[in-house]
Symmetry: C2
Subunit: 250 residues, 2 copies
Amino acid sequence: MVLDGQDRWRLNNALPISSQIYALLRDRIVRNEFAPGERISEAEIAKLCEVSRQPVREAFIKLAGENLLEIRPQRGTIITKIAYTAVLDARFLREAIEADIVSILASRSDTALVRELRDQVSRQRELGQSRSAEFIQLDEHFHHTLAQEAGKGGAWKLLEGLKSQMDRVRFLSLSQFPIGRLVAQHSALVDRIERGDVSGANAAIRTHLREVLTDLPSILAANPQFFDLPDGTVLQPANAPIQGGIDHEH
Amino acid sequence: MVLDGQDRWRLNNALPISSQIYALLRDRIVRNEFAPGERISEAEIAKLCEVSRQPVREAFIKLAGENLLEIRPQRGTIITKIAYTAVLDARFLREAIEADIVSILASRSDTALVRELRDQVSRQRELGQSRSAEFIQLDEHFHHTLAQEAGKGGAWKLLEGLKSQMDRVRFLSLSQFPIGRLVAQHSALVDRIERGDVSGANAAIRTHLREVLTDLPSILAANPQFFDLPDGTVLQPANAPIQGGIDHEH
DNA sequence: GCTACCATACTGCCATACTAGTACTCAAAA
DNA sequence: TTTTGAGTACTAGTATGGCAGTATGGTAGC
């Protein structure tokens, strides 16, 4: 593991230590500040944070539950590689739920909500192309707002664990993030919600979510060591339509 | 907590203790052998299993991650009540992913798969109305097979944690389980997969998944103490169409 | 009878120590 | 030179004890 110089990682004492270690490690893993495949040990992190192994261990267990760590008894713990198929699976799940969410929003035309979303979009626009990391935060907030307002905040929380793998890819693709296009898609989405255009909003969010992973193959090509490819995986564009299509009755 | 007489809970030594405690507790919670809202303590379980508190604690952490336990620091740990909204959210998620799965299967007509599925359906039919608990296992296996064969086994695993809340409801509804109808739906689904009828298979799985929770309101009425209802929740049939509709482009 | 307070018995959280299992180094034997 | 085996330095898993915070029951004061 790459130490941050010789610094210790500072914690506060408002929350349980294990929770802080968890949040701290998760953030670093998702941002790919650890190399996938790299070893990480309880004792090492404990020493770095000047705490005992126990809270570190509990954080490890939670991270392993999200498939960010693989704990191998008596052998060691490693940062998992980004599972290519898990990324695609997570995207399908997210697309399905968010499509429902915007459908709900569009079908009830809440003017206060539309105003709030427009505010967020302008803030996103102001960032400019250079501030990709901050954009991801705003993007996260935008989508969270959608879920919350649709009364699906609970479902959103359930999905957060699944998003981990997708998030790692997003941070890998920071440099080639087409922020302008994503913001425009957000804006178009809000337009359609405002007009009560259910199917239009639906299509907009689906297109948007596929955009995020458009460059997955090229990212994979540029960082093959970060990924875990099942044998015989055939690379195809991540934004291909869902095979077989989806038909919902009403 | 209701002790099983004065017995201890036997563990083997093939797996880590914490994993065994986790599996043991999860099974009991999902089967509603603990009363939701009831307190449960590390020390109590540790004593019962004749192990130290540490592995029990680690099992608690994993269970809390699935929202089966609520750990309140310095106050105690309780079995969560079944979150009514979480059940509905989980159903939406499951419906979305399984609809994709059967679409994939229907669009490629795998005769070996169809044979396997038919075998499973006949075994389900043989059980008869009286063996609800065993039926749930077979049902689980059936749906798992669908996911596996569609190459979405990974996504299925991701969803397992979310299914916990739904499973608790299913065990509550054991007595009034319309097994005959569910098996017939399975059979109809296989028919449509065999015919390559994508949209038909899609509709079949959606209807089927809604069936499982059809009786949610009556279950809730019969066991109000098991459920956690957000204030102002308006009870409505769990199998209502998704608000706003879902339109997928192709 | 009511309120404020305090002792007590819990709770979960963390530190420490120890166990058992694995990987690795390096020297001795073939 | 290659192979083997013992020793060592790790790893995660578990047991135990002490800590701080919380609920509870009873009591003193009103």
